[in-house]
């Protein structure tokens, strides 16, 4: 693990995630596939909202992503998404681009960790 990589328990609450899927690897994979299917669309919405300074749209899209991330009991990514939602709520989008860039990387790490957990449960 490099300095930039968070510990696994900082990526997602592993024990809660296992409990959530009832130790069922197939269900966890289904959730992951579903997430990957919708991730692009929601991230595109957030990116466009930041580009267009559309605070309401940023709030709504971030809220939706936050809900999706909750299924994995994510820690970092959900926190960053929550900050983006707050930025949308406040109408101050100054920090949004930086947050978005960070979020994209956090989601990659999260997906890899969930995939690894699914393999472990199989």
């Amino acid at each position: 693990m490099t300095d930039c990589e968070p510990a696994e328990d900082q990526v997602f609450a592993r024990a809660d995630a296992i409990r959530y899927v009832g130790q069922d690897a197939e269900f966890l994979r289904d959730l992951l596939n579903m997430f990957c299917e919708h991730r692009g669309e929601v991230m595109d919405r957030i990116s466009a909202a930041i580009d267009n300074d559309a605070a309401d749209e940023l709030r709504e899209a971030s809220h939706r992503l936050k809900g999706m991330l909750a299924s994995f009991f994510s820690v970092h990514a959900a926190d960053t998404t929550g900050k983006l939602e707050l930025a949308g709520k406040s109408g101050n989008l100054e920090t949004a681009a930086g947050l978005f860039s960070r979020l994209d990387g956090q989601i990659d790490v999260l997906c890899a960790a969930v995939d690894a957990l699914a393999s472990e449960l199989e």
Binding site: D16, Y20, L31, M34, H63, G67, M68, A70, S71
Partner: protein
């Protein structure tokens, strides 16, 4: 989704999983992962799940048979709040549980003040989810059952006076009107199925807090390890799974009425905390030192004998005195026999309305059989009996032979249960007349048995019946 799609289209597209005879649950969320998880967890628990991806579709999917609707508050087209309002208005028996993201507790509290029964936060824990839905299903069934009380109380909400012929219920009506205005703590007692929660709602709606929330907690249906968090809430990180701050029911009821149903089942170890709250009117969420002032009126209910439980050290005496400020005892159905024909008709009319059939009538003999039965399950049991008989009855008249009762429930012990109605304020003559009439009814018109039950001779029963003008 286009707004021009018809409700039928949407019903077709809305997905139903695991069709079984069990309760039907609507889940509405624009988050496909939440839908997937809800379908999975609730389906595994044996529920039939109908999924909708927005509020508009959720409304299109609603029907009378949906026991519980789980609504995400932030949905496109029609929000969760709008869907909640619609369901409350058009499907009053459907219990709504709102789904929120962690950190959106204020929205959840607002939804509960609008009438949602419960809220869950994402990510939800499967066991808690299933438990909450099971409880909501039970509440929905009770709500349907209590609609059988239409003969006694106004509709759609129990705000008007009782329509009753029974002296005991007339007295109950007067007492409800009086105590409602006092804002004091009330203990409602009575057998299961007598309508204790309906009486509690009536008191709330006639009282000074009518515009504020009425929050009900059934102490018997919550697991012991969850009840403290349910009542008093918790702080983030207070225990595993406490992913955010969560107010309890006591806090949500602030300004309104807290109804603790089946308080006799409140675990002994939690009773001091409730007592402290009733004395100081402040609560602390689990895991938090912060004191929160809460102003509620407490109505408690139980089918148990709390004074006996106090003697047996199963219930704290100090708490008993604190909640037993004003006491109302609801008489069981067998002591309101004069109301049974109206009550039965009301229940049958509602069943027929739901089924879209004309309401059958009860023959004279059937009415007498209903009046003679002991109704150990009270109104809830009567509804079940009539639901069954109207389903299998071929003609438009229900005969006595069509009526069947649960064998164990019609034992002699039940039919001779003592009269426990509050009699204060009635003349002795009226009390005697009522006792004879209702015991006669409970004994199926058998005068010898009635005399034995009342502890008088057969000759005396004939004399008293003649004097009171009781025809049998």
């Amino acid at each position: 989704m286009s707004r021009t799609k018809t409700a039928t289209d949407k019903k077709k597209r809305a997905k139903a999983t695991r069709p079984t005879d069990s309760a039907r649950i609507l889940v509405a969320d624009d988050d496909p992962m939440a839908i997937m998880a809800l379908e999975r967890h609730l389906g595994s628990a044996g529920f039939e799940v109908i999924a909708a991806s927005d509020g508009e579709q959720a409304i299109a999917c609603m029907d009378d048979d949906i026991a519980v609707a789980l609504l995400d508050l932030h949905m496109p087209l029609v929000s969760g709040f709008e869907s909640l309002t619609y369901i409350q208005k058009h499907f009053p028996d459907t219990q709504v549980i709102v789904i929120t993201a962690s950190g959106d507790v204020a929205d959840a509290v607002e939804a509960m003040k609008l009438g949602a029964a419960e809220y869950i936060t994402k990510p939800f824990h499967p066991e808690e989810l299933v438990l909450q839905v099971q409880q909501a299903v039970k509440s929905s069934q009770e709500s349907r059952s209590h609609r059988g009380l239409k003969a006694f109380v106004g509709h759609p909400l129990p705000t008007s006076q009782f329509s009753t012929r029974s002296p005991a219920m007339k007295k109950m009506d007067r007492m409800v009107q009086k105590v409602a205005k006092l804002d004091s703590t009330i203990l409602v007692t009575g057998e299961s199925g007598t309508g204790k929660s309906t009486i509690a709602r009536m008191i709330h709606q006639h009282g000074p807090r009518a515009a504020a929330p009425f929050i009900a907690v059934n102490c018997a249906s919550l697991p012991r390890d969850l009840i403290e968090a349910e009542l008093f809430g918790h702080a983030k990180g207070a225990f595993t799974g406490a992913v955010g701050d969560r107010p309890g029911r006591v806090e949500i009821a602030n300004g309104g009425t807290l109804f603790l149903d089946e308080i006799g089942d409140l675990p002994l170890e939690l009773q001091p905390k409730l007592l402290t709250f009733l004395q100081d009117r402040v609560i602390q969420r689990i895991g938090s030192n912060k004191e929160i002032k809460v102003d509620v009126r407490l109505i408690a209910a139980t089918h148990q004998d709390l004074s006996k439980m106090c003697l047996e050290k199963q219930f704290r005496q100090d708490l008993y005195y604190r909640i037993n400020v004003l006491a109302l005892e609801i008489p069981p159905v067998r002591e309101r026999t004069l109301d049974i024909p109206d009550l039965a008709e009301s229940i049958m009319a509602r069943i027929s309305e739901r089924r879209g059939n004309p309401s059958p009538r009860l023959s004279e003999a059937a009415i007498e059989k209903l009046k003679a039965y002991s109704w150990p399950g009270n109104i809830r049991e009567m509804e079940n009996v009539l639901e069954s008989v109207t389903a299998f009855c071929d003609g438009q008249t229900i005969s006595a032979a069509d009526l069947t009762f649960a064998k164990s429930a019609s034992s002699t012990a039940d039919t001779t249960a003592p009269v426990t109605t509050s009699l204060a304020g009635m003349s002795l003559s009226d009390i005697e007349k009522m006792a004879i009439e209702e015991t006669l009814a409970a004994c199926g018109g058998n005068k010898a048995k009635t005399a034995r039950t009342l502890g008088i001779s057969e000759k005396s029963i004939y004399n008293k019946m003649k004097r009171h003008g009781i025809q049998r």
